[in-house]
């Protein structure tokens, strides 16, 4: 049981992924679908940072750190990259939705004809 509790961050990641998938599959409003993608991105980011956490470690910055027991730096770098990638894709998706709305007057996946096949 205590092991189960200790893994709460990982469980939260799993729950976030499920919520994101639910939003993406069940919502017909395209903006909501994009929100699902954003939550999925957040879940993956949280997963990466969680992977790098070391019990009792400090941030991997030597300036004024108390010692060299540090959390892992690589996942943090990966997460930085993935956050910026996330905002880039989100912006492009939202721009496309704005254009779809300009053409059809709808942001609903089914009303605006073919989107989502």
């Amino acid at each position: 049981m205590s092991e189960f509790l200790a893994n709460i961050p990982f469980l939260a990641v799993a729950a976030l992924i499920c919520v994101a998938l639910y939003i993406m599959m069940s919502q017909r409003n395209l903006i909501k679908v994009v929100m699902g993608v954003v939550i999925l991105e957040s879940a993956v980011n949280l997963f990466l940072v969680t992977l790098g956490y070391r019990e009792g470690g400090v941030a991997p910055i030597f300036t004024n750190a108390p010692g060299t027991l540090m959390v892992l730096p690589v996942p943090q770098a990966l997460t930085l990259t993935s956050i910026v990638i996330g905002v880039a894709t989100t912006a492009l998706m939202l721009s496309m939705i704005m254009l779809i709305y300009r053409h059809t007057g709808e942001t609903d996946a089914e009303k605006s004809r073919k989107v989502k096949g």
């Binding site: 941030a59 910055i61 300036t63 060299t68 910026v84 721009s95 704005m98 300009r102």
Partner: protein, 152 residues
């Protein structure tokens, strides 16, 4: 947007922008760097756009200027990567040289801004790029959005 928001934006924006620049410059010794600083700076620009409207911001911050700045940042960044090509692409050739070349001792230390080799320069390049890229995205989307609003 209401007057309060504008006043707050007027007071807050310079601080946000300055903090963004600070974060970019000290990326190699304190938490932060080009991305974080650029994001903070761009969020200041976003605040301006929300408070004063995209039209007014566009009067002194043109989209094509941002495009140029972004291209410039990208070229500077990849140029620094190319500069290491004598050894390998992305080789940190400035470590040990007089410019940013000091090497700190291993372990915790108070930090020295003249360290990091190409890292501070890359931070600046990426900072330029992120500021320009994110601001351009927000600005263009806001302009398109306000235009779309008028159409209806």
């Amino acid at each position: 947007m209401s007057k309060i928001v504008r006043t707050v934006a007027k007071l807050l924006t310079p601080a946000i922008l300055l903090f963004g620049l600070y974060v970019i410059m000290h990326g190699h010794i304190t938490p932060g760097g080009g991305f974080q600083g650029g994001a903070v700076f761009a969020s200041g620009v976003a605040l301006l756009i929300v408070a004063f409207g995209a039209g007014r911001v566009e009067q002194f911050l043109k989209e094509h200027q941002l495009s140029m700045l972004e291209s410039g940042g990208g070229l500077l960044f990849i140029g620094l990567a190319f500069a290491g090509l004598a050894t390998a692409f992305f080789y940190n050739f400035l470590v040990g040289s007089p410019i940013f070349g000091h090497v700190p001792a291993f372990g915790p230390n108070p930090g020295d801004i003249w360290t990091g080799g190409t890292i501070p320069l890359m931070n600046v390049a990426v900072g330029m790029k992120v500021i320009a890229g994110l601001s351009a995205i927000v600005l263009v989307m806001a302009l398109a959005s306000s235009k779309q609003g008028e159409d209806e």
